[in-house]
Assembly symmetry: C2
Homo-oligomer: 375 residues x 2
């Protein structure tokens, strides 16, 4: 029934779900590869190929059924993606770009090699090396797993030499690197869309607040000086020019206390910092990504009104019981559940976006709404 074609997505979580919700009105069918046949995307009409995201045969099977393959997550088999691309199935973004981003250390090297400002960082292959780097970074640093980390998993702040061994072993003791801690004022993100002809559009710079390394709140637009915003936009364009393939990317950055902007990391996909666009922008990041990978022209990225998004993280284990009456009594508040069960502590169960005449209005509404949800 997808007259416009069929889009394949590796991963059927909340991002795959919101991509599917955007793809259907445009006339596309969606097939996702996901370990669960009741994944969030399946609940909104995506067909599911059940399988592991690192399973080359499953990725090949997905490719056979669709017109274009894209991803909702970077932790997957990029060699298998490269194979299907070589066999003629369009893959967006390019497998080599996803592969580069998978390795946070190589990602940083790549950015530095392209003269893009990043925090100081160094490879550390032993505790001894880590010790040396810690000294050179002034006695504190963040130790990071190069692969597979997300939502703060795989990071450890080290503020003293004696903390090093425990952090080292907690992160598995290999494939690690270190970054100098940035004394940042704010964390920023720019969602960038590239079409198949490499035309680029930038959404407004947003600011992100994290807790326990998990994104908790996104404020659109970022409440920063126009100079800082311009720096972030320039940096985002520099990064976008180095990426390959079509789609939406998020460029996460630090705004330092001295006003510099440094790239923290790139997500080769729709991103939590762009969820607000569903209600706040002319074209949502999800529709934008579908347009980009399907070879359609990009949509307008203008902000229609300020917005604040708050993630709904599980605060307990169990099954959710949702009374939304109190939340929705406040106008301009939107609730998005992802259809996940069970609730787990810090699991992303959904999000709330509030729009307002000002950022402050939206923030008040969004935070009040989050407090009212007993989950």
């Amino acid at each position: 029934m997808g007259h416009a074609g069929t889009i394949g997505i590796v991963g059927g979580g909340q991002l795959g779900r919101m991509l599917t919700l955007a793809a259907k009105p445009l006339g596309y069918s969606v097939v996702v590869l996901d370990p669960s046949d009741t994944c969030p995307a399946a609940q909104v009409g995506a067909e599911v190929i059940t399988g592991d995201l690192y399973d080359a045969a499953a990725i090949a099977q997905l490719a056979e059924r669709v017109d274009v393959v894209t991803v909702e997550i970077e932790h997957l088999n990029t060699d298998a993606l490269a194979d299907i691309a070589a066999a003629g199935v369009p893959v967006h973004p390019a497998p080599q770009t996803i592969k580069l981003i998978q390795d946070k250390y190589q990602q940083k090297v790549f950015l530095r090699d392209h003269d893009i400002a990043v925090p100081e960082f160094a490879k550390v292959d032993s505790v001894q090396e880590a010790h040396t780097v810690l000294d050179s970074f002034g006695g504190s640093m963040i130790l990071k797993a190069r692969h597979g980390a997300y939502d703060g998993r795989g990071n450890a702040v080290v503020s003293a030499v004696h903390e090093l061994p425990a952090a080292w072993s907690r992160l598995g003791g290999k494939h690690l690197y270190a970054e100098k801690l940035v004394d940042f004022d704010k964390e920023l993100s720019v969602v960038v869309a590239r079409d198949r002809a490499s035309a680029v559009r930038l959404y407004d710079v947003v600011e992100m607040a994290h807790e326990r390394n998990i994104c908790l709140e996104v404020i659109a637009p970022a409440q920063i000086s126009s100079t800082a915003a311009q720096r972030a936009r320039t940096l985002a364009k520099q990064v976008a020019a180095q990426l390959q393939g079509a789609g939406v990317f998020a460029i996460e950055m630090f705004l330092t206390k001295t006003g510099d902007v440094l790239v923290n990391e790139i997500a080769p996909r729709v991103h939590n910092s762009g969820h607000h666009t569903i209600e706040s922008c002319v074209t949502s990041q999800f529709e934008q990504h579908i347009r980009a990978v399907a070879g359609l022209p990009l949509g307008d990225v203008s902000l229609r009104s300020p917005a604040v998004m708050v993630n709904i993280l599980g605060t307990q284990d169990g099954r959710p019981s949702l009374d939304m009456s109190d939340v929705l009594r406040d106008g301009h508040v939107y609730v998005h559940w992802y259809g996940k069960a069970p609730i787990k502590i810090d699991r992303k169960m959904g999000h709330i976006t509030a729009i307002g005449g000002t950022v402050q209005q939206a923030k008040t509404k969004a935070r009040r709404a989050r407090k009212k949800l007993a989950i």
Copy 2:
């Protein structure tokens, strides 16, 4: 996976589809009753009970699986709805309101009895009676089937006595009534939402353009005097006060050349005249309906920007081939396909909404977009 509950919808066409797309983010599961298991709603994650909308057993089966039953169409078995309501399953809107609306003649009598302005009308049980009425209406009238008519099917304009017998037999020769032709300036619609506590909110008055009795274009807000808009709103409130049960209703009206506003008919459901609300309003009519029937508070109905919606009616029989590039190159244009196949002449295949700084901008974009679609 619908933590918030399960909503049952009688009918799984495009309205059921757009209701489902709005229900899922709010955390609801959806089950629809529809003759086709590949109906538009099924494609976006609604489960389907396959059956006829007049089949009491199928409606009972739907009721067993859901927390609340609603409808996307008024042509269905209202006695079965009344039975399940009597058995304790909430049904919104109320079965008796749907039943009243099913009979266009009784609907008109009801409105007149409640002092709501309607065009002159009369029951006609024979060609002789029709002849008498035609004379009393000044020689022209519209003959209408009382039941089952939509999109202009079941209507016949009679402008001379000699046209009467053919019109009479074309409409089946029974269960007909006649309305005086209204010399209208514009056709208007007000989408109204009622919550379970009978609180009412009105969307902006829109104007509708029809061709061959099918809605072709909706302009929001209606380009009419503030006096006329106020009359339409007052009338819509009067009507809404007489309806029973929760949900979204559309009140279609005529604005006459002398500035009067008369009610044409009521739809006990989301309506084509409200499709623009997806992009143009704080709360879409679809989310609003879900909120209303689920017992949640109503959302804000404010218009965020002017909008024009154009229906995509099939212009040929066959399978659609969709190249949307040209359409989407124009910013602020949204395409909604309903996943129907095959194309049939005058079948509603989808719609386009354009938003703009002014109605004129939106109209230009929407019409240009429609012309670019070869379907």
